[in-house]
Amino acid sequence: MKISTKAARRRAIGGRCLAAMTGAAALAGCVQIETPDKPIEINLNINIRQEIVYRLDGDAKKLIEENSGIF
């Protein structure tokens, strides 16, 4: 009887631990924007790149126009 109680307690503790861990995992999942870090980073890079590209486009056109001998 005592043994089974101990086992039950252990199981209960184990369960609580599991719940806590699941909770922690869930919490980590919420905070962890790091998991989808890669695609986000790639999108960001593309945005930055496009921004630079569009910003440079006018200057590039002007450069070609003003130096038509070498383009």
Binding site: V53, L56, A60, K61, L63, S68, G69, I70
Partner: protein, 133 residues
Amino acid sequence: MMNKRMWKPAGLAMAAVAATAAVTLAVSPANAQRDPAYEAARTAGQIGEQPDGYLGFVSTPTPAVRDIVNDINIKRKAAYTSGAPQGSTVEQFAFVTGCNLIAKTKPGEKYKAPDGTWRTRDAGAPVRDSRCP
């Protein structure tokens, strides 16, 4: 009297300087027309525009064509270097200019696609880097 005698050689020298300056002005600036030999090599498809903003050889060039292209690429590099706006690199500015140069190729001229193959520009849009504006 002395002045008059001095004037002639001095005047000739001045004229020579002026003539040299005029010739230099007419030939050297990058904003002049394309060199006919450069234009011919483009039209013949011996050289083409690359996505990096520089000219490349489609086929093994003659020494004359090689010299023309090397000279133009050096001048382009100088133009990209002095023209790159604040916050951008020379490579980025050259790349965006290359996008424009490929877009400006005339049908029959060559350009390098993002996969590295040389293509002949036709009536349609050229195959360019996806980041091109």
